[in-house]
């Protein structure tokens, strides 16, 4: 610590790490997985964010620095670590640096630990000191209770903290973190980010933090490197890059981020993409104001030993005509389970689900209900049959419901796919050759073939890159406007909810915590849990609805 203070004094610092002309090529891969001439410096104790969408090369960069790329990767370039120059092209030269000089943590915390080994043993392999010290440093308050547990007995956040403790245990001067919080809930993420910031200051440890989330970068990092298709398109001080981006790509990226300041507006497209397709007029508004109503719905799951767990506990919720209702909650909150009762994928043990005043009884299902409510899943890859062509999958609902002649069905499916901006060339492809965004458009087109009144989107944009997510969000807004479809939008991402929804309901552990208009709920949350949740959202500087102070370095 004392040394750190001295070295951060007046004397101009020498960088801890300099990367010069890093390039990576894969002998079997495509151009997208190739890096070209990446160069940057990292000062001791500095936190550098590397941000980019999938395939931008950010993870490859980290693995090249730590020498963890597979054998068939061709690496070029030079690295100066602590004044010593090393060639990046030979992983063997880099191996001695791992551990005491640099350490790395990864995205999936559960599988970072050996399932057959206790936490204590993980740390014992790395250090002779008391393992509890490092667990405490990683933010585990009562380390001794955890020492003899296994990975499957821990939560995701705890696993990631154990992984951090393992990384810290040889006192590295550089920590490389590859999307370490992406798989975690937002409140857990906030805690880990705070801890990393503090660790960097305490130990004068530099951090390279890789993420797709610009807001996280703003919260945590001093400097940022924006990567796109294997190249650095922009770099500099975090505030400068995020508030006054120079590169067009960075500008596009920031514009695509959903935010309350432009609530209800299109992010990247002009309204009316759907205009080219003449939809039938929205069904005339008849009956009550309530379209989909959950009345004291209770759902139980059976455990392997036969006992029951309440996944949803007497939740009542109403979706009005033409509205977008956001349903927020962390993993295990029961939000998906609640929504699944509307389509018969989960059966309530008590309570009713009403559609347009009619009770949905899935023991005696009616085909009309299947047409009125459509469900869009999180993972667009999984939601499409890998072995069938896109066109036949989009047409499938019409086949199942025997609507129109075969040629009409084809025509309708084609028209909807064009309306959701899928090119004709893709129609006869199989899902594997489509991008994530294209797949999600296909599932939306499929859902629209039956002219539903209600669309349930279950984490439908969570797996997508920001720029693609923005297009899908724009499309959903178009659907509401053009077709008057009501949307139940389920997400763990409050920024997206804040941007898209008219009203929001918050769930936690199977119960409804709070419900209200988006603006009111985000500005003046009543429940403690909602307040915590909102405080934990990483936000960008000029877009913040509620001004949250940047996380300050604290012990």
């Amino acid at each position: 610590m004392i040394e750190a203070n001295q070295s951060s004094g007046v004397v101009p610092l020498q960088p801890l790490l300099s990367i010069k002309g890093l390039g990576v090529g894969f002998s079997t891969g495509t151009a997208t997985s190739t890096l070209s001439s990446i160069s940057f410096d990292l000062m001791p104790g500095e936190i550098l964010g590397i941000v980019g969408e999938s395939g931008s090369g950010k993870s490859v960069t980290c693995r090249a620095i730590t020498g963890l790329l597979p054998n068939f990767a061709r690496v070029r370039g030079e690295m100066i670590f602590d004044g010593q120059s090393r060639s990046l092209s030979s992983p063997r030269m880099l191996a001695p640096l791992r551990g005491a000089d640099m350490a790395m943590i990864f995205q999936d915390p559960m599988s970072a630990l050996d399932p057959l080994m206790t936490v204590r043993r993980h740390l014992r392999l790395r250090t002779k000191e008391d393992p509890a010290i490092y667990l405490r440093q990683a933010g585990i308050d009562e380390p001794n209770t955890l020492l003899d547990t296994y990975a499957h007995q821990l939560s995701g956040g705890q696993c990631q903290r154990v992984a951090i403790a393992c990384a810290l245990s040889r006192n590295p001067r550089l920590l490389i973190a590859d999307e370490p919080t992406t798989a975690l809930d937002v409140t857990v993420q906030a805690g880990i980010l705070r801890r990393l910031k503090a660790l960097s200051a305490e130990r004068n440890m530099a951090i390279i933090f890789v993420t797709h989330d610009l807001a996280v970068v703003y919260q945590l990092c001093d400097r940022v490197l924006v990567m796109h298709q294997g190249q650095v398109v922009e770099s500099g001080d975090v505030k400068t890059v995020l508030t006054a981006p120079k590169a067009p790509y960075t500008q596009d990226l920031i514009r695509a981020i959903p935010r309350p300041a432009v609530r209800g507006e299109r992010l990247v497209t002009v309204p009316g993409e759907l205009g080219q397709y003449s939809f039938p007029a929205p069904p005339a508004i008849a009956g009550g104001h309530q379209l989909l109503e959950f009345q004291a719905v209770k759902v139980q799951y059976k455990r392997p030993d036969g006992s029951n767990v309440d996944a949803v506990k007497d939740v009542s919720l109403t979706l009005k005509r033409g509205e977008i209702l956001g349903l927020v909650g962390e993993s295990g909150s029961g939000k998906s389970t609640l929504a699944k009762t509307a389509v018969g994928l989960a059966r309530p043990i008590s309570g009713n689900v009403m559609l347009d005043g009619e009770r949905l009884d899935w023991n005696a299902p009616r085909m009309q209900w299947r047409r009125d409510i459509q469900y869009i899943f999180q993972d667009p890859r999984g939601a499409l049959d890998p072995s069938a062509r896109i066109l036949s999958q989009v047409r499938m609902p019409l086949d199942v419901h025997r609507l129109g002649e075969a040629s009409e069905r084809d025509a309708r499916a084609r028209a909807l796919m064009r309306a959701t901006r899928l090119e004709d060339a893709l129609f006869s492809r199989k899902p594997a050759s489509l991008s994530g965004g294209q797949r999600q458009r296909a599932t939306i087109a499929r859902a629209l073939t039956l002219q539903p009144k209600v669309l349930i989107c279950d984490e439908s944009v969570s797996a997508l890159d920001v720029s693609i997510q923005a297009r899908v969000l724009d499309l959903l807004m178009d659907l509401r406007e053009k077709l008057g479809i009501a949307i139940l939008f389920i997400s763990h991402d409050l920024s997206v909810i804040d941007h898209l929804c008219d009203r929001v309901a918050v769930m936690r552990q199977g119960e409804l915590v709070e419900e209200g208009e988006t603006e009111a709920l985000f500005r003046q949350p009543v429940a403690d849990y909602t307040q915590d949740l909102i405080a934990a959202i990483p936000r960008l500087p000029s877009f913040a609805g509620v001004q949250i102070a940047r996380i300050e370095a604290m012990a």
Binding site: R98, L116, Y150, A163, G332
Partner: protein, 322 residues
């Protein structure tokens, strides 16, 4: 409910299924009365015999009588030898085991290290040659290998005794025929289990925090490969024994295998049934013990089993990401 109870129930059910199978195949193998007596015996004797053995009872009662008989280790008479079938079989078992045990030990000792070596050099020449040899090994039945060995070493070169038990060199060809094939199976299996473990993120994590490659292999890879290896060893043991039977026949060894083939060819069903029940119940027991050992190796399985006995609230939610 207790996991152990459930698992034992399953083992007993499998055993019952085996007994039902042998009972019905026994019934289908012909009328015991007609087998026992010559055609000129008078009908009264046959009727008395039927009465005594419960052959006039309803089928379920016959099954119970059958079970009771087995409980007294009465496996019926071998009509070819006129001795109790169990005795006939047990006489021959040591010879078979003396062939099967060295064979499986040798397969493991050769196959598993070979699989390790191939996985460590994944994609390189050594790996590809190992896979090639393993695939070929799988495609060669032990008896064919035995014939080729016999031709080369006994007939052509005249080095080894071609058949029967002469001295310890008699073991060489039979054991080699079985082990070559099973070493290939073990090598292939070990390699794919290793490759799977080595692609697990924990390996990259361990390397990233500076653990030496040798240490990573010792503490992470080996224990995680152990579970699938224990499973396959238990499963393949039964197959090794049966292939030992075929090899015995080829090399004219006086083992249970030769006996079994003779019994099948001579329709001596009591002997076949005794062999089937002996190997079957041994395998059921072996599988049961293997399953028990999982709990010792893997804490996840241990916890899952414990959960059967624990109060429900301590279980993690089955919901995953709701």
């Amino acid at each position: 409910m207790n996991w152990l109870l459930l698992r034992s129930g399953r083992a007993i059910l499998t055993l019952l299924l085996l007994l039902t199978f042998t009972f019905f195949t026994l019934a289908a193998s012909g009328d015991p009365a007609l087998q026992k007596f010559s055609p000129d015996v008078d009908l009264a004797t046959i009727a008395a015999f039927r009465e005594k053995w419960g052959l006039n009872e309803p089928i379920w009662k016959q099954f119970l009588i059958y079970l009771e008989r087995l409980a007294h280790f009465d496996f019926g008479m071998s009509y070819r030898t006129g001795r109790p079938a169990l005795e006939v079989v047990l006489d021959r078992v040591p010879v078979t085991l003396s062939l099967a045990i060295p064979s499986i030990v040798l397969s493991i000792v050769i196959g598993i290290p070979l699989g390790f070596y191939a996985a460590m050099n994944k994609g390189r020449l050594a790996d590809r040659i190992t896979i090639l040899v393993a695939v070929m090994g799988l495609a060669i039945p032990p008896f064919l290998l035995g014939i080729f060995l016999m031709y080369v070493f006994s007939i052509w070169l005249g080095w080894l005794p071609p058949s029967g038990y002469v001295n310890w060199t008699s073991y060489i060809m039979p054991v080699a025929s079985i082990s070559a094939v099973y070493a290939a199976i073990f090598a292939r299996f070990t390699r794919s289990a290793m490759v799977e473990v080595m692609s697990h993120p924990m390996i990259e994590t361990a390397k990233a925090s500076g653990l030496a490659t040798g240490l990573v292999q010792r503490v992470h890879v080996l224990p995680n490969v152990l579970l699938p290896l224990v499973t396959i060893t238990a499963l393949e043991f039964g197959n090794v024994v049966t292939f030992a039977a075929v090899i015995e026949n080829l090399f004219s060894w006086p083992g249970a295998g030769t006996l079994l083939i003779e019994a099948v060819a001579g329709r001596d069903y009591a002997v076949v049934e005794a062999v089937l029940l002996l190997t079957g119940s041994t395998m059921i027991l072996a599988n049961f013990l293997t399953d028990l050992s999982y709990g010792l190796i893997d804490p996840r399985i241990r916890d899952y089993r414990r959960a059967y006995r624990r109060s429900p609230d301590q279980l993690p939610s089955p919901e995953g990401a709701a």
